[in-house]
Protein backbone atom coordinates (compact mmCIF):
# COMPACT_ATOMS: atom_id res chain seq x y z
CA UNK A 1 0.00 0.00 0.00
CA UNK A 2 2.58 2.47 1.12
CA UNK A 3 3.80 3.38 -2.32
CA UNK A 4 0.27 4.74 -3.03
CA UNK A 5 -0.20 6.45 0.30
CA UNK A 6 0.88 9.88 -0.71
CA UNK A 7 -1.03 13.07 0.01
CA UNK A 8 -1.58 13.79 -3.65
CA UNK A 9 -2.96 11.92 -6.57
CA UNK A 10 -1.52 12.63 -9.96
CA UNK A 11 -4.40 13.19 -12.29
CA UNK A 12 -4.48 14.03 -15.97
CA UNK A 13 -5.21 17.66 -15.18
CA UNK A 14 -2.73 18.02 -12.34
CA UNK A 15 -2.30 17.11 -8.72
CA UNK A 16 -5.23 16.41 -6.42
CA UNK A 17 -5.16 16.48 -2.64
CA UNK A 18 -7.00 13.97 -0.50
CA UNK A 19 -8.82 15.29 2.55
CA UNK A 20 -10.15 12.87 5.14
CA UNK A 21 -12.30 13.15 8.24
CA UNK A 22 -13.26 10.23 10.42
CA UNK A 23 -16.36 9.44 12.45
CA UNK A 24 -15.82 6.65 14.92
CA UNK A 25 -18.51 4.95 16.95
CA UNK A 26 -16.91 3.49 20.03
CA UNK A 27 -18.97 1.35 22.38
CA UNK A 28 -18.41 2.26 25.99
CA UNK A 29 -16.96 -0.55 28.08
CA UNK A 30 -19.57 -1.10 30.77
CA UNK A 31 -21.44 -4.03 32.23
CA UNK A 32 -24.93 -2.63 31.67
CA UNK A 33 -26.47 -0.48 28.96
CA UNK A 34 -26.63 3.31 28.94
CA UNK A 35 -30.29 3.59 29.92
CA UNK A 36 -31.23 0.08 31.07
CA UNK A 37 -29.94 -2.68 33.31
CA UNK A 38 -29.50 -5.24 30.51
CA UNK A 39 -26.06 -6.68 29.85
CA UNK A 40 -23.79 -5.36 27.10
CA UNK A 41 -22.04 -8.68 26.61
CA UNK A 42 -21.39 -9.58 22.98
CA UNK A 43 -22.60 -12.74 21.30
CA UNK A 44 -25.65 -13.66 23.37
CA UNK A 45 -28.77 -15.44 22.14
CA UNK A 46 -31.11 -13.17 20.11
CA UNK A 47 -32.93 -10.58 22.21
CA UNK A 48 -31.70 -12.09 25.47
CA UNK A 49 -29.78 -9.01 26.56
CA UNK A 50 -32.83 -6.86 26.11
CA UNK A 51 -35.00 -5.21 28.73
CA UNK A 52 -38.44 -3.76 28.09
CA UNK A 53 -36.70 -0.38 27.94
CA UNK A 54 -34.36 -1.55 25.16
CA UNK A 55 -37.30 -2.96 23.22
CA UNK A 56 -39.11 0.39 23.60
CA UNK A 57 -42.20 -1.18 25.07
CA UNK A 58 -44.97 1.33 25.82
CA UNK A 59 -44.36 3.40 28.93
CA UNK A 60 -40.71 2.42 29.36
CA UNK A 61 -38.32 5.13 30.52
CA UNK A 62 -34.55 5.63 30.44
CA UNK A 63 -32.39 5.98 33.57
CA UNK A 64 -28.75 6.77 32.90
CA UNK A 65 -25.78 4.61 33.89
CA UNK A 66 -23.34 6.75 35.91
CA UNK A 67 -20.34 4.66 34.86
CA UNK A 68 -21.03 5.28 31.17
CA UNK A 69 -20.99 9.02 31.88
CA UNK A 70 -17.68 8.59 33.68
CA UNK A 71 -16.29 6.66 30.72
CA UNK A 72 -17.28 9.44 28.32
CA UNK A 73 -15.67 12.03 30.58
CA UNK A 74 -12.50 9.93 30.74
CA UNK A 75 -12.40 9.64 26.98
CA UNK A 76 -12.88 13.38 26.64
CA UNK A 77 -10.00 14.02 28.98
CA UNK A 78 -7.91 11.56 26.96
CA UNK A 79 -8.65 13.63 23.86
CA UNK A 80 -7.43 16.71 25.75
CA UNK A 81 -10.92 18.16 25.49
CA UNK A 82 -12.95 20.38 27.77
CA UNK A 83 -15.62 18.58 29.76
CA UNK A 84 -18.99 20.34 29.70
CA UNK A 85 -20.48 20.27 33.17
CA UNK A 86 -23.94 20.63 31.71
CA UNK A 87 -24.98 18.57 28.74
CA UNK A 88 -28.32 17.60 27.26
CA UNK A 89 -29.61 14.40 25.73
CA UNK A 90 -31.53 14.89 22.53
CA UNK A 91 -33.69 12.59 20.52
CA UNK A 92 -32.61 11.95 16.95
CA UNK A 93 -35.77 10.77 15.23
CA UNK A 94 -35.79 8.30 12.37
CA UNK A 95 -37.37 4.97 11.54
CA UNK A 96 -35.35 1.80 11.22
CA UNK A 97 -36.20 -1.73 12.33
CA UNK A 98 -33.24 -1.98 14.70
CA UNK A 99 -34.05 1.40 16.27
CA UNK A 100 -36.94 0.36 18.52
CA UNK A 101 -37.86 3.76 19.97
CA UNK A 102 -38.00 5.41 16.56
CA UNK A 103 -35.33 7.72 17.91
CA UNK A 104 -31.81 7.46 19.18
CA UNK A 105 -31.06 9.18 22.46
CA UNK A 106 -27.88 11.07 21.71
CA UNK A 107 -26.43 14.52 22.08
CA UNK A 108 -26.71 17.29 19.57
CA UNK A 109 -26.51 20.88 20.77
CA UNK A 110 -24.97 20.47 24.20
CA UNK A 111 -22.67 17.45 24.27
CA UNK A 112 -20.71 16.22 27.28
CA UNK A 113 -17.24 16.72 25.76
CA UNK A 114 -15.97 19.72 23.79
CA UNK A 115 -13.34 19.95 21.07
CA UNK A 116 -10.07 18.06 21.48
CA UNK A 117 -7.17 16.75 19.45
CA UNK A 118 -5.23 13.62 18.60
CA UNK A 119 -1.53 13.56 17.64
CA UNK A 120 -0.39 11.13 14.97
CA UNK A 121 3.25 9.99 14.72
CA UNK A 122 4.04 9.19 11.15
CA UNK A 123 6.85 6.91 9.98
CA UNK A 124 8.85 9.81 8.58
CA UNK A 125 8.94 11.37 12.03
CA UNK A 126 6.29 13.96 11.25
CA UNK A 127 3.65 14.64 13.91
CA UNK A 128 0.14 15.36 12.61
CA UNK A 129 -2.26 17.24 14.83
CA UNK A 130 -5.87 16.18 14.15
CA UNK A 131 -8.59 18.40 15.60
CA UNK A 132 -11.56 16.65 17.20
CA UNK A 133 -15.18 17.71 17.18
CA UNK A 134 -17.18 17.51 20.45
CA UNK A 135 -17.81 13.95 21.63
CA UNK A 136 -21.41 12.80 21.95
CA UNK A 137 -22.67 10.12 24.31
CA UNK A 138 -25.64 8.16 23.01
CA UNK A 139 -27.25 4.79 22.46
CA UNK A 140 -26.30 2.17 19.93
CA UNK A 141 -28.92 0.55 17.72
CA UNK A 142 -29.73 -3.14 17.46
CA UNK A 143 -28.71 -5.28 14.52
CA UNK A 144 -30.63 -6.57 11.51
CA UNK A 145 -29.66 -9.83 9.87
CA UNK A 146 -30.42 -9.78 6.17
CA UNK A 147 -29.06 -13.16 5.15
CA UNK A 148 -31.28 -15.51 7.15
CA UNK A 149 -34.23 -15.52 4.79
CA UNK A 150 -34.86 -14.47 1.16
CA UNK A 151 -37.81 -12.22 2.01
CA UNK A 152 -37.30 -11.16 5.61
CA UNK A 153 -34.80 -9.44 7.84
CA UNK A 154 -34.34 -10.62 11.42
CA UNK A 155 -33.97 -8.01 14.14
CA UNK A 156 -31.93 -8.60 17.28
CA UNK A 157 -31.90 -5.86 19.90
CA UNK A 158 -29.05 -7.17 22.07
CA UNK A 159 -26.88 -4.22 21.09
CA UNK A 160 -29.76 -1.76 21.31
CA UNK A 161 -29.12 0.74 24.06
CA UNK A 162 -25.45 0.00 24.61
CA UNK A 163 -23.60 3.23 25.33
CA UNK A 164 -21.85 4.69 22.34
CA UNK A 165 -19.36 7.50 22.00
CA UNK A 166 -19.54 9.34 18.72
CA UNK A 167 -16.00 10.54 18.14
CA UNK A 168 -15.59 12.73 15.10
CA UNK A 169 -12.43 14.27 13.71
CA UNK A 170 -12.13 17.42 11.73
CA UNK A 171 -11.08 16.88 8.09
CA UNK A 172 -7.42 17.09 9.05
CA UNK A 173 -6.05 13.93 7.49
CA UNK A 174 -4.36 13.93 4.14
CA UNK A 175 -3.57 10.36 3.21
CA UNK A 176 -4.83 6.84 3.71
CA UNK A 177 -1.87 6.25 6.00
CA UNK A 178 -2.84 9.15 8.20
CA UNK A 179 -6.41 7.88 8.31
CA UNK A 180 -5.21 4.47 9.45
CA UNK A 181 -2.80 6.04 11.92
CA UNK A 182 -5.69 8.08 13.33
CA UNK A 183 -7.82 5.02 13.91
CA UNK A 184 -4.86 3.22 15.48
CA UNK A 185 -4.09 6.11 17.79
CA UNK A 186 -7.70 6.62 18.82
CA UNK A 187 -7.98 2.92 19.51
CA UNK A 188 -4.83 3.04 21.61
CA UNK A 189 -6.16 5.99 23.62
CA UNK A 190 -9.52 4.38 24.46
CA UNK A 191 -7.82 1.10 25.26
CA UNK A 192 -5.32 2.82 27.56
CA UNK A 193 -8.26 4.51 29.25
CA UNK A 194 -10.29 1.30 29.38
CA UNK A 195 -13.30 3.14 27.99
CA UNK A 196 -13.71 0.97 24.88
CA UNK A 197 -12.20 -2.38 24.00
CA UNK A 198 -11.54 -1.19 20.45
CA UNK A 199 -12.64 -4.54 19.07
CA UNK A 200 -13.41 -3.86 15.42
CA UNK A 201 -14.32 -7.46 14.64
CA UNK A 202 -17.17 -7.43 17.14
CA UNK A 203 -18.20 -3.96 16.06
CA UNK A 204 -17.45 -2.28 19.34
CA UNK A 205 -15.44 0.22 17.33
CA UNK A 206 -16.71 1.21 13.89
CA UNK A 207 -15.42 3.85 11.54
CA UNK A 208 -17.07 5.93 8.86
CA UNK A 209 -14.60 7.73 6.63
CA UNK A 210 -15.34 11.03 4.91
CA UNK A 211 -13.27 11.48 1.79
CA UNK A 212 -13.02 14.40 -0.59
CA UNK A 213 -10.46 15.58 -3.12
CA UNK A 214 -9.48 19.09 -4.10
CA UNK A 215 -6.98 20.72 -6.39
CA UNK A 216 -3.50 21.13 -4.95
CA UNK A 217 -3.42 24.01 -2.50
CA UNK A 218 -7.09 23.76 -1.57
CA UNK A 219 -6.43 22.17 1.78
CA UNK A 220 -4.00 24.91 2.83
CA UNK A 221 -6.63 27.50 2.00
CA UNK A 222 -9.20 25.55 3.98
CA UNK A 223 -6.93 25.49 7.04
CA UNK A 224 -6.17 29.19 6.70
CA UNK A 225 -9.75 30.34 6.25
CA UNK A 226 -11.79 27.54 7.81
CA UNK A 227 -14.01 27.69 4.76
CA UNK A 228 -15.15 24.37 3.34
CA UNK A 229 -15.58 25.92 -0.09
CA UNK A 230 -11.91 25.19 -0.71
CA UNK A 231 -12.54 21.47 -0.27
CA UNK A 232 -14.34 19.13 -2.61
CA UNK A 233 -17.70 17.47 -2.01
CA UNK A 234 -17.27 14.62 0.43
CA UNK A 235 -18.60 11.11 0.41
CA UNK A 236 -19.11 9.19 3.62
CA UNK A 237 -17.95 5.60 3.54
CA UNK A 238 -19.80 3.53 6.13
CA UNK A 239 -18.59 0.91 8.57
CA UNK A 240 -15.04 0.40 7.43
CA UNK A 241 -14.11 -2.21 9.97
CA UNK A 242 -10.32 -2.55 9.94
CA UNK A 243 -7.27 -0.31 9.66
CA UNK A 244 -6.34 -1.97 6.40
CA UNK A 245 -9.81 -1.44 4.93
CA UNK A 246 -9.65 2.22 5.94
CA UNK A 247 -6.51 2.59 3.86
CA UNK A 248 -7.92 0.69 0.93
CA UNK A 249 -11.27 2.45 1.00
CA UNK A 250 -9.62 5.88 1.05
CA UNK A 251 -7.32 4.97 -1.83
CA UNK A 252 -10.18 3.66 -3.90
CA UNK A 253 -12.57 6.46 -3.11
CA UNK A 254 -10.10 9.27 -3.76
CA UNK A 255 -9.21 7.81 -7.15
CA UNK A 256 -12.86 7.35 -8.00
CA UNK A 257 -13.58 10.96 -7.23
CA UNK A 258 -10.62 12.25 -9.23
CA UNK A 259 -11.66 10.15 -12.20
CA UNK A 260 -15.22 11.48 -12.06
CA UNK A 261 -14.14 15.11 -11.80
CA UNK A 262 -11.54 14.80 -14.52
CA UNK A 263 -14.11 13.07 -16.71
CA UNK A 264 -16.25 16.20 -16.43
CA UNK A 265 -18.59 14.92 -13.73
CA UNK A 266 -19.36 16.20 -10.26
CA UNK A 267 -19.26 14.42 -6.94
CA UNK A 268 -22.63 13.87 -5.30
CA UNK A 269 -22.60 14.07 -1.52
CA UNK A 270 -23.70 10.61 -0.50
CA UNK A 271 -23.22 7.66 1.77
CA UNK A 272 -21.22 4.80 0.33
CA UNK A 273 -20.48 1.32 1.50
CA UNK A 274 -16.99 -0.20 1.31
CA UNK A 275 -16.98 -3.71 -0.12
CA UNK A 276 -13.77 -5.34 1.01
CA UNK A 277 -14.20 -8.35 -1.28
CA UNK A 278 -14.34 -6.23 -4.43
CA UNK A 279 -12.20 -3.46 -2.93
CA UNK A 280 -14.59 -0.77 -4.05
CA UNK A 281 -17.10 1.65 -2.59
CA UNK A 282 -20.66 1.86 -3.78
CA UNK A 283 -23.65 4.08 -3.18
CA UNK A 284 -26.07 3.05 -0.44
CA UNK A 285 -29.53 3.53 -1.86
CA UNK A 286 -31.24 3.16 1.48
CA UNK A 287 -29.47 6.24 2.84
CA UNK A 288 -30.38 8.40 -0.13
CA UNK A 289 -33.53 9.88 1.36
CA UNK A 290 -32.96 13.34 2.77
CA UNK A 291 -32.81 13.14 6.53
CA UNK A 292 -34.59 15.42 8.91
CA UNK A 293 -33.82 14.06 12.36
CA UNK A 294 -36.02 16.52 14.26
CA UNK A 295 -33.67 16.75 17.21
CA UNK A 296 -35.17 17.97 20.46
CA UNK A 297 -34.21 17.51 24.13
CA UNK A 298 -35.41 14.14 25.44
CA UNK A 299 -38.24 15.01 27.83
CA UNK A 300 -37.76 11.70 29.66
CA UNK A 301 -34.38 12.89 30.91
CA UNK A 302 -33.16 16.00 32.67
CA UNK A 303 -30.00 17.86 31.70
CA UNK A 304 -26.87 15.99 32.81
CA UNK A 305 -25.07 18.12 35.36
CA UNK A 306 -21.59 17.13 36.51
CA UNK A 307 -19.83 18.43 39.57
CA UNK A 308 -16.38 19.81 38.85
CA UNK A 309 -14.97 17.89 41.83
CA UNK A 310 -16.17 14.64 40.27
CA UNK A 311 -14.59 15.52 36.94
CA UNK A 312 -11.38 16.47 38.75
CA UNK A 313 -11.31 13.12 40.53
CA UNK A 314 -11.64 11.33 37.20
CA UNK A 315 -8.88 13.49 35.77
CA UNK A 316 -6.58 12.66 38.68
CA UNK A 317 -7.18 8.95 38.17
CA UNK A 318 -6.37 8.90 34.45
CA UNK A 319 -3.66 6.45 33.46
CA UNK A 320 -0.58 7.57 31.55
CA UNK A 321 -1.67 7.95 27.92
CA UNK A 322 0.31 7.13 24.75
CA UNK A 323 1.67 10.64 24.15
CA UNK A 324 2.94 11.02 27.70
CA UNK A 325 4.32 7.52 27.76
CA UNK A 326 6.11 8.13 24.50
CA UNK A 327 7.73 11.31 25.85
CA UNK A 328 8.80 9.46 28.96
CA UNK A 329 10.23 6.56 26.97
CA UNK A 330 12.29 8.95 24.86
CA UNK A 331 13.49 10.85 27.91
CA UNK A 332 14.10 7.96 30.30
CA UNK A 333 15.14 5.23 27.91
CA UNK A 334 16.88 7.30 25.25
CA UNK A 335 15.14 5.46 22.45
CA UNK A 336 14.15 7.07 19.17
CA UNK A 337 10.83 8.88 18.75
CA UNK A 338 9.81 6.35 16.14
CA UNK A 339 10.62 3.35 18.33
CA UNK A 340 8.85 4.95 21.27
CA UNK A 341 5.83 5.67 19.07
CA UNK A 342 5.64 2.04 17.99
CA UNK A 343 6.05 0.75 21.53
CA UNK A 344 3.30 2.92 23.03
CA UNK A 345 0.90 2.11 20.17
CA UNK A 346 -0.38 -0.75 22.24
CA UNK A 347 -0.54 -0.48 25.98
CA UNK A 348 0.38 -4.14 26.46
CA UNK A 349 3.42 -3.72 24.26
CA UNK A 350 4.54 -0.65 26.17
CA UNK A 351 4.05 -2.46 29.46
CA UNK A 352 5.99 -5.44 28.14
CA UNK A 353 8.80 -3.20 27.06
CA UNK A 354 8.95 -1.34 30.35
CA UNK A 355 9.24 -4.54 32.31
CA UNK A 356 11.82 -5.88 29.89
CA UNK A 357 13.91 -2.72 30.06
CA UNK A 358 14.00 -2.58 33.85
CA UNK A 359 17.63 -2.31 35.02
CA UNK A 360 19.17 -3.11 31.64
CA UNK A 361 20.33 -1.14 28.62
CA UNK A 362 16.98 0.27 27.42
CA UNK A 363 18.10 0.69 23.84
CA UNK A 364 19.32 -2.89 23.73
CA UNK A 365 15.96 -3.91 25.18
CA UNK A 366 14.11 -1.97 22.48
CA UNK A 367 16.21 -3.60 19.77
CA UNK A 368 15.75 -7.01 21.32
CA UNK A 369 11.99 -6.52 21.49
CA UNK A 370 11.73 -5.21 17.93
CA UNK A 371 14.12 -7.65 16.29
CA UNK A 372 13.81 -10.82 18.31
CA UNK A 373 10.57 -10.95 20.26
CA UNK A 374 8.21 -9.23 17.83
CA UNK A 375 9.77 -11.12 14.91
CA UNK A 376 9.05 -14.43 16.57
CA UNK A 377 5.54 -13.38 17.66
CA UNK A 378 4.81 -12.28 14.14
CA UNK A 379 6.09 -15.58 12.79
CA UNK A 380 3.82 -17.50 15.17
CA UNK A 381 0.83 -15.22 14.70
CA UNK A 382 0.73 -14.24 18.36
CA UNK A 383 0.02 -10.98 20.13
CA UNK A 384 2.28 -9.49 22.75
CA UNK A 385 0.09 -10.73 25.59
CA UNK A 386 0.45 -14.26 24.26
CA UNK A 387 4.25 -14.19 24.16
CA UNK A 388 5.61 -17.58 25.26
CA UNK A 389 8.56 -15.79 26.84
CA UNK A 390 7.55 -13.33 29.49
CA UNK A 391 8.86 -9.80 29.79
CA UNK A 392 10.72 -10.86 32.96
CA UNK A 393 12.41 -13.77 31.16
CA UNK A 394 13.43 -11.47 28.31
CA UNK A 395 14.76 -9.05 30.89
CA UNK A 396 16.91 -11.86 32.35
CA UNK A 397 18.27 -12.75 28.91
CA UNK A 398 19.15 -9.12 28.13
CA UNK A 399 20.74 -8.78 31.52
CA UNK A 400 22.97 -11.84 30.91
CA UNK A 401 23.86 -10.48 27.52
CA UNK A 402 24.72 -7.10 29.04
CA UNK A 403 27.07 -8.46 31.71
CA UNK A 404 28.71 -10.80 29.24
CA UNK A 405 27.36 -13.93 30.89
CA UNK A 406 26.23 -15.02 27.46
CA UNK A 407 27.05 -13.87 24.00
CA UNK A 408 24.57 -12.23 21.68
CA UNK A 409 24.48 -15.32 19.54
CA UNK A 410 23.75 -17.59 22.48
CA UNK A 411 21.15 -15.15 23.75
CA UNK A 412 19.15 -15.76 20.59
CA UNK A 413 19.55 -19.50 21.01
CA UNK A 414 18.45 -19.14 24.61
CA UNK A 415 15.36 -17.19 23.54
CA UNK A 416 14.48 -20.00 21.14
CA UNK A 417 14.88 -22.57 23.89
CA UNK A 418 12.67 -20.71 26.35
CA UNK A 419 10.24 -19.94 23.50
CA UNK A 420 9.68 -23.60 22.75
CA UNK A 421 10.44 -25.31 26.03
CA UNK A 422 9.76 -22.69 28.67
CA UNK A 423 11.81 -22.49 31.85
CA UNK A 424 13.98 -19.98 33.63
CA UNK A 425 16.67 -18.53 31.33
CA UNK A 426 19.20 -18.17 34.15
CA UNK A 427 18.84 -21.81 35.12
CA UNK A 428 18.99 -22.96 31.52
CA UNK A 429 22.25 -21.09 30.97
CA UNK A 430 23.63 -22.66 34.15
CA UNK A 431 22.40 -26.18 33.41
CA UNK A 432 23.40 -26.28 29.77
CA UNK A 433 26.79 -24.60 30.29
CA UNK A 434 26.00 -21.72 27.99
CA UNK A 435 28.00 -19.26 30.04
CA UNK A 436 30.44 -17.24 28.08
CA UNK A 437 34.13 -18.06 28.68
CA UNK A 438 35.89 -14.93 29.83
CA UNK A 439 38.71 -16.77 31.54
CA UNK A 440 41.78 -15.44 29.64
CA UNK A 441 43.93 -18.52 30.15
CA UNK A 442 41.29 -20.78 28.60
CA UNK A 443 40.93 -18.41 25.69
CA UNK A 444 44.71 -18.13 25.30
CA UNK A 445 44.89 -21.89 25.18
CA UNK A 446 42.32 -22.03 22.43
CA UNK A 447 43.97 -19.22 20.48
CA UNK A 448 47.38 -20.89 20.73
CA UNK A 449 45.91 -24.14 19.50
CA UNK A 450 44.38 -22.45 16.44
CA UNK A 451 47.64 -20.61 15.68
CA UNK A 452 49.63 -23.80 16.00
CA UNK A 453 47.35 -25.69 13.69
CA UNK A 454 47.29 -23.02 10.96
CA UNK A 455 50.79 -21.65 10.27
CA UNK A 456 49.81 -20.75 6.69
CA UNK A 457 46.98 -18.51 7.87
CA UNK A 458 49.34 -16.85 10.38
CA UNK A 459 51.57 -15.90 7.45
CA UNK A 460 48.63 -14.68 5.41
CA UNK A 461 47.25 -12.41 8.13
CA UNK A 462 50.36 -10.33 8.16
CA UNK A 463 49.37 -9.05 4.74
CA UNK A 464 45.61 -9.26 5.21
CA UNK A 465 44.62 -8.18 8.79
CA UNK A 466 40.98 -8.79 7.87
CA UNK A 467 41.66 -12.50 8.24
CA UNK A 468 41.40 -11.95 12.01
CA UNK A 469 37.69 -12.70 11.68
CA UNK A 470 38.52 -16.17 10.45
CA UNK A 471 40.65 -16.76 13.57
CA UNK A 472 37.87 -15.56 15.83
CA UNK A 473 35.50 -17.99 14.17
CA UNK A 474 37.92 -20.88 14.70
CA UNK A 475 38.37 -19.99 18.36
CA UNK A 476 34.60 -19.78 18.83
CA UNK A 477 34.25 -23.19 17.24
CA UNK A 478 36.82 -24.57 19.68
CA UNK A 479 34.96 -23.09 22.65
CA UNK A 480 31.49 -24.08 21.52
CA UNK A 481 30.53 -20.44 20.95
CA UNK A 482 30.97 -19.58 24.58
CA UNK A 483 34.18 -17.53 24.33
CA UNK A 484 33.75 -13.83 24.82
CA UNK A 485 34.40 -12.35 21.37
CA UNK A 486 36.07 -9.22 22.78
CA UNK A 487 38.47 -11.30 24.84
CA UNK A 488 39.25 -13.50 21.85
CA UNK A 489 40.02 -10.41 19.79
CA UNK A 490 42.33 -9.02 22.45
CA UNK A 491 44.31 -12.25 22.77
CA UNK A 492 44.56 -12.67 19.00
CA UNK A 493 45.85 -9.14 18.62
CA UNK A 494 48.55 -9.70 21.20
CA UNK A 495 49.59 -13.08 19.82
CA UNK A 496 49.63 -12.06 16.17
CA UNK A 497 50.94 -8.52 16.67
CA UNK A 498 48.00 -7.00 14.89
CA UNK A 499 47.52 -3.22 14.70
CA UNK A 500 45.51 -1.49 17.48
CA UNK A 501 42.08 -1.44 15.91
CA UNK A 502 41.11 -3.90 13.26
Amino acid sequence: MSQHASKTIKGETGDWEIVIGMEVHAQVLSKAKLFSGASTEFGAEPNSHVSFVDAAMPGMLPVINRFCVEQAVKTGLGLKAKINNRSVFDRKNYFYPDLPQGYQISQFKDPIVGEGEILLDMKDGETIRVGMEPLHLGQDAGTSLHDQHPDYSFVDLNRSGTALMEIVSKPHMRSSEEAAAFLKKLRAIVRYLGTCDGNMDEGSMRADVNVSVCKAGGYEKFRETGSFKHLGTRCEIKNVNSMRFVQMAVEYEARRQVEIIEGGGTIKQETRLYDSKQNETRSMRSKEEAHDYRYFPDPDLLPLELEQAWVDRIKASLPELPDEKKARFIKDFGISAYDAGVLVGEKELADFYEEMARGVDAKAAANWLNNEVLGRLNRDGLGITQSPVSAAANNAIIRMMGDNTISGKLAKDLLDIVWSEGGDPVQIVEQRGMKQVTDTSAIEKAVDAVIAANPDKVEEIKAKPKLAGWFVGQVMKQTGGKANPAAVNAVLKARLNLPGEG
Binding site: G37, R66, F154, V155, L157, L302
Partner: protein, 95 residues
Amino acid sequence: MSVDKDTVRRIAKLARIALEEERVAPMERELNGILAWVEQLQEVNVEGVAPMTSVVAQKLKMRDDVVTDGNIADAVTANAPMREDNFFVVPKVVE
Protein backbone atom coordinates in the same frame (compact mmCIF):
# COMPACT_ATOMS: atom_id res chain seq x y z
CA MET B 1 -46.62 30.13 8.61
CA SER B 2 -48.63 27.54 6.80
CA VAL B 3 -48.10 24.26 5.03
CA ASP B 4 -48.73 23.41 1.40
CA LYS B 5 -49.65 20.04 -0.04
CA ASP B 6 -46.05 19.07 -0.72
CA THR B 7 -45.12 19.85 2.84
CA VAL B 8 -48.03 17.74 4.07
CA ARG B 9 -46.78 14.84 1.95
CA ARG B 10 -43.23 15.34 3.17
CA ILE B 11 -44.26 15.40 6.84
CA ALA B 12 -46.44 12.34 6.41
CA LYS B 13 -43.45 10.57 4.86
CA LEU B 14 -41.18 11.66 7.73
CA ALA B 15 -43.78 10.45 10.24
CA ARG B 16 -44.26 7.22 8.30
CA ILE B 17 -48.00 7.59 8.08
CA ALA B 18 -49.53 6.69 4.74
CA LEU B 19 -51.65 9.57 3.51
CA GLU B 20 -53.90 8.85 0.59
CA GLU B 21 -53.88 11.52 -2.07
CA GLU B 22 -57.49 12.54 -1.42
CA ARG B 23 -56.62 13.07 2.26
CA VAL B 24 -53.81 15.55 1.48
CA ALA B 25 -56.05 18.57 0.90
CA PRO B 26 -58.22 18.08 4.00
CA MET B 27 -55.11 17.48 6.09
CA GLU B 28 -53.57 20.64 4.68
CA ARG B 29 -56.67 22.57 5.78
CA GLU B 30 -56.69 21.02 9.25
CA LEU B 31 -53.01 21.62 9.87
CA ASN B 32 -53.23 25.18 8.62
CA GLY B 33 -56.19 25.79 10.92
CA ILE B 34 -54.07 24.75 13.89
CA LEU B 35 -50.98 26.61 12.65
CA ALA B 36 -52.98 29.80 12.14
CA TRP B 37 -54.23 29.52 15.71
CA VAL B 38 -50.75 28.96 17.24
CA GLU B 39 -49.45 31.88 15.18
CA GLN B 40 -50.37 34.18 18.09
CA LEU B 41 -47.25 32.89 19.90
CA GLN B 42 -45.17 35.01 17.53
CA GLU B 43 -46.38 38.15 19.31
CA VAL B 44 -44.73 37.12 22.61
CA ASN B 45 -41.36 38.68 23.32
CA VAL B 46 -39.14 35.74 24.22
CA GLU B 47 -35.82 37.49 23.97
CA GLY B 48 -33.42 36.34 26.65
CA VAL B 49 -35.87 33.69 27.91
CA ALA B 50 -34.41 30.21 28.37
CA PRO B 51 -36.51 27.38 26.97
CA MET B 52 -37.86 25.12 29.68
CA THR B 53 -35.76 21.96 29.93
CA SER B 54 -37.26 20.40 33.03
CA VAL B 55 -40.52 21.09 34.78
CA VAL B 56 -39.29 20.15 38.24
CA ALA B 57 -36.10 21.26 39.92
CA GLN B 58 -34.55 17.83 40.24
CA LYS B 59 -31.11 16.42 39.52
CA LEU B 60 -30.89 13.68 36.93
CA LYS B 61 -30.96 10.29 38.61
CA MET B 62 -28.15 7.92 37.82
CA ARG B 63 -27.88 4.14 38.09
CA ASP B 64 -24.90 2.06 39.04
CA ASP B 65 -23.30 -0.07 36.35
CA VAL B 66 -24.93 -3.33 37.36
CA VAL B 67 -26.75 -5.87 35.21
CA THR B 68 -30.27 -6.07 36.65
CA ASP B 69 -32.36 -6.84 33.60
CA GLY B 70 -32.57 -8.96 30.47
CA ASN B 71 -32.83 -12.69 29.78
CA ILE B 72 -36.53 -12.24 29.08
CA ALA B 73 -36.45 -12.74 25.31
CA ASP B 74 -39.78 -14.59 25.40
CA ALA B 75 -41.53 -11.74 27.17
CA VAL B 76 -39.83 -9.15 24.97
CA THR B 77 -41.01 -10.84 21.79
CA ALA B 78 -44.35 -12.18 23.08
CA ASN B 79 -46.39 -9.39 21.44
CA ALA B 80 -44.50 -9.42 18.15
CA PRO B 81 -46.69 -9.61 15.03
CA MET B 82 -44.02 -11.84 13.48
CA ARG B 83 -41.10 -13.55 15.16
CA GLU B 84 -38.76 -16.45 14.68
CA ASP B 85 -36.39 -17.93 17.26
CA ASN B 86 -36.87 -14.82 19.40
CA PHE B 87 -35.91 -12.54 16.51
CA PHE B 88 -38.34 -9.86 15.39
CA VAL B 89 -39.09 -10.43 11.72
CA VAL B 90 -39.66 -7.65 9.18
CA PRO B 91 -39.80 -7.49 5.38
CA LYS B 92 -36.32 -7.58 3.92
CA VAL B 93 -34.40 -4.36 4.42
CA VAL B 94 -32.17 -3.39 1.52
CA GLU B 95 -28.99 -1.53 2.47
